[in-house]
């Protein structure tokens, strides 16, 4: 049990982050900060075409350039790498064509930027010089861009020789939607286009490979969201033993999903390191980042909602065309999450969605912060707004009538989630969440604000969106808590932070059990040499999985410490407590043994028997394996002003009510939610990856791809609600993505509301000023009319 002093830093405390001082002094160690002796540098020749046959490659001139060490083509790759494509990370029977790329293009490139040749040189400067000297014969093939057009008969194929452009097709069903729609009082149809851009973490990807000839093994530093899964991919590709691959993620400058994918460059640097017997570094530059880091782009929704006369939902049905891009590394994970998120906090008795995932000649789409959920929530909330408008009801009221009620928990939605379990909401109070958000946003006072603004010719609107988010996905995350014989405490985990503060929050959790300050616990993440199993940090899963594992492991270590101390002190364990780095008698705190003494005792003495005693070492490894996802929830309320003459949208007020169960560190959760809102603002208003009709990327720099700046993101008022999850020992749920998920729907709703006098209907994200002006038509002339 914790003593009074520790309550200030353990679970629930907004302690300052352990990570910060090093970052603030410029002493973080990101991938490109690592300099190894004799290190060489990689650059890639990439396909300039979205779709092409690759013919002869002439590397003579490149090899002749001083400072160039190797020019590697597909033909130069080791046999096991030539034989295999990159792995399908999550197989599923609905995948019709599991098309995946080789480490370097074999004979066809399927997106602009696909790596064709890997050049290794003394510096990145020289490597880039050499890439310009490699001559590749390309024969351009017809490329496909629009994911709606490509499923039509006669459309060109994204992959030469494929049977069609369909990667996967599957239904998601609850009840009997078609029957339920017959005779419904009202049916409304919405066609919605959504585009989510890319992750655009500030630190681009990168990797450094070292080869050890003695073990014929590799050490790979990667800016990644999960070292262990990456190691598994590398072991499979190179057909190696467990001891021959160590993967370490150093400090990671943002991930947002796509840094959790496996990329061909990582294989290539390892191949080059073995070939040249020197460390090889590849750092993605921003142009490569725009071309080759996974994105989350287009979805086209054609949806209908049926409601009764009281605006209660009878059913939702429709079709979703989802763009997977050139390949399907994550199978159907992204469209599956999207599809299963649609019902959200509402009772939807009948639901039917036909999901088609299609190939295009563009970089593949994989989960980006929110992972398909923002699109689902935006769609559902657009439908709810439509119902309110048609039935002339307040938009909050329509939602109130349809909420799953707290007393219905645990609530079975009736569909299967990507974890293979039925979607079952573990806990939550959705009506309370909306009520809290509306109160903080002064929803009731909005009409007055709007009327006052109208008198000045300004157009205000308010919008809201609710979401339920599956978080804390399994299978597990590892945690070892170990007390060294020096008394120092370390936690090893497979969790791989990219800004989420794991080194602080996991220490906070353990500190409660171990009776020490969280600052006395070191957290070592993302090194496959320190812990055998791990999954990584994505899908808002670390607090639940790693947090619970740390909790369990720390509890076991505390129990063991008491047992050993009881033997040493000749008392019973129940009389003991852990505090200030000691196990001490509750009744006489001065009678105590330090964790250091206990740790020394725990490992035994050479030559002395430990037979019959405890397993050696003051440590424990736990792999908390959740039964199913836990469901966070929240409500966003956006208030915007729209300039009807320019179409500019200005967010003037923003409120979030957020429920992620019990909160480990409120400051950290607030940071996660507010940061997520900024990402949602980008998706709603700014971020668009443009391609030409030949699928050639046009947005390849930060001048054309608009990330929200400090002047674009509103101040966010945050309300915390805490409905503990019954499904893990700490009652926590994930918090990393909730900020993004509801933002788009709330902002679109607010823009549409502001433009209500003109009958403008918003059915796309992002919505640009240009588009708003187009939708306004003559009205956009405003004062100049």
């Amino acid at each position: 049990m914790k003593s009074g002093a520790e309550k200030l830093t353990g679970f629930g405390a907004s302690v300052k982050r352990k990570e910060d001082p090093a970052f603030l002094r410029g002493e973080g160690q990101f991938i490109d900060d690592i300099h190894l002796p004799e290190m060489l540098h990689a650059a890639f020749v990439r396909s300039p075409y979205a779709h092409a046959k690759v013919g002869a490659i002439d590397k003579t001139a490149a090899l002749a350039l001083p400072g160039v060490h190797a020019v590697i083509t597909y033909a130069d790759l080791p046999e096991e790498i030539r034989r295999q494509t990159m792995p399908l990370l999550v197989p599923h029977p609905a995948i019709k064509q599991a098309l995946l790329p080789y480490a370097l293009a074999k004979d066809e490139t399927c997106y602009a930027g696909e790596p064709v040749v890997c050049v290794i040189a003394d510096s990145r400067y020289i490597a880039e010089d050499a890439t310009q000297l490699v001559e590749v014969d390309y024969e351009p093939l017809p490329a496909v861009n629009d994911c709606r057009a490509v499923i039509e008969d006669g459309a060109p194929l994204a992959h030469a020789g494929a049977e069609s452009n369909i990667a996967a097709r599957f239904p998601v069903k609850v009840g009997d939607a078609d029957r339920a729609f017959t005779g419904a009082a009202h049916v409304f149809r919405e066609k919605i286009y959504q585009h989510r851009g890319g992750p655009f973490f500030m630190e681009c990807r990168g990797a450094i490979a070292q080869y050890d000839a003695q073990s014929q093994g590799y050490t790979l530093h990667v800016s990644s969201q999960g070292s262990h899964r990456l190691k598994r991919c590398m072991l499979d590709m190179f057909e190696l033993g467990d001891h021959q691959m160590r993967v370490i993620a150093p400090d990671v400058g943002g991930g947002f999903g796509p840094k959790g994918s496996f990329y061909p460059e990582y294989i290539n640097v390892a191949v080059a390191a073995r070939l040249l017997r020197r460390p090889v570094k590849w750092i993605e530059d921003r142009r490569e980042n725009f071309l080759t880091t996974h994105q989350e782009r287009d979805q086209y929704w054609d949806m209908e909602i049926a409601v009764d006369a009281d605006a209660k939902i009878i059913g939702v049905r429709g079709q979703l065309i989802h763009e997977t891009g050139a390949y399907v590394p994550w199978g159907i994970v992204l469209p599956w999450i999207t599809a299963t998120t649609v019902p959200g906090p509402y009772v939807v008795p009948h639901f039917k969605l036909d999901v088609i995932s299609v190939f295009t000649n563009k970089i593949q789409t994989t989960p980006v912060r929110g992972a398909g959920r923002p699109e689902a929530v935006t769609t559902m909330e657009r439908l709810m707004d439509r119902v309110a408008r048609e039935l002339k009801l307040d938009r909050a009221e329509v939602r109130r009538r349809n909420f799953v009620q707290p007393e219905q928990m645990p609530y079975k939605v009736g569909i299967i989630f990507r974890d293979g379990r039925p979607v079952t909401y573990d806990s939550g109070d959705y009506p309370a969440s909306q009520a809290a958000a509306l109160k903080t946003a002064d929803y009731d006072g909005f009409a007055k604000r709007q009327a006052a603004a109208r008198k000045q010719g300004r157009y205000l609107g308010i919008g809201l969106a609710n979401a339920v988010e599956a978080t804390g996905l399994g299978p597990y995350e590892s945690a070892t808590v170990r007390v060294a014989t020096s008394g120092r405490i370390v936690i090893y985990t497979g969790a791989t932070p990219q800004g989420q503060s794991h080194k602080t929050t996991l220490a906070q959790i353990a500190s409660d059990q171990l009776g020490v300050d969280f600052n006395d616990i070191t957290v070592v993440t993302a090194d496959t040499a320190t812990t055998a199993l791990g999954i990584g940090s994505f899908a808002a899963r670390t607090a639940v999985n790693a947090g619970s594992s740390v909790h369990v492991a720390a509890m076991e270590v505390a129990a063991k410490a008491k047992k050993i101390a009881a033997g040493m002190m000749e008392c019973v364990e129940d009389d003991l407590e852990l505090a200030d780095g000691y196990v001490r008698l509750k009744s006489a705190p001065d009678v105590k043994k330090s964790l250091r003494e206990i740790a020394v005792k725990s490992i035994g003495m050479p030559g002395f028997s430990m037979a019959g005693g405890l397993p050696p070492g003051l440590e424990h490894t736990a792999h908390f394996t959740p039964d199913q996802a836990v469901y966070s929830s929240g409500t966003h309320v956006a208030e915007v002003e729209v300039d009807i003459e320019t179409g500019e949208v200005n967010i003037v007020r923003y409120t979030v009510a957020h429920d992620c169960g019990r909160v480990i560190n409120p400051m950290v959760v607030e940071g996660q939610v507010i940061g997520g809102v900024a990402h949602g603002v980008g998706n709603a208003l700014y971020e668009q990856l443009a391609f030409d009709e030949n699928a050639q990327p046009l947005s390849t720099n930060f001048g054309e791809y608009l990330l929200p700046m400090a002047t674009d993101v509103p101040h966010v008022d945050l309300v915390h609600l805490e409905t503990p999850s019954p499904l893990n020992p700490l009652g926590i749920k994930g918090a990393g993505e909730g900020g993004t998920i509801s933002a788009i729907g709330a902002i679109l709703g607010a823009v549409e509301h502001a433009l209500e006098p003109f009958g403008v209907h918003i059915a796309e994200a992002p919505i640009s000023p240009q588009r708003i002006v187009a939708l306004l038509g003559e009205h956009a002339r405003g004062r100049t009319k």
């Binding site: 410029g26 940061g675 900024a678 990402h679 930060f702 700046m709």
Partner: protein, 161 residues
Amino acid sequence: MADTRTIAVTINGKPHTATIETRMTLVDFLRHELKLTGTHVGCEHGVCGACTVLVNGISARACLMLAVQCDSQQVTTVESLATDGKLNVLQQAFQDNHGLQCGFCTPGMLMTLTEFLRDKPDPTVAEVREALSGNLCRCTGYQGIVDAALDAAKKLREGAR
């Protein structure tokens, strides 16, 4: 043959002499020649601000300068801010206000605000946001950074060091 020059630059008060290729950018020189890796590379086209340093006390994108241009100039980087490891007022305000998450944009933010708060000790929220508009952050939503800037400004006005 590569075009090279020998330059003498004062970085964080310390003189450095080096022979470099003239095409090397200032940020690559700092990071890979001098191993001062606190200054980060985020876009190499002058938009993200992660590489912001002070040249003769004035903020600049280190990805848009050549190292050779800094011959006989004074360059100040994030590594200069703390004294004997102790965070300065602005750095401490970042920790206190959760002004960083992944920490990658942070050095650029700190250098931008070092110049800004020196020139404008009592800024409004809007002025802080405008000052930060040349530095992109994907993690924080900027709120913690804005709070940190205002907190640091207040403490500096009150004489904190």
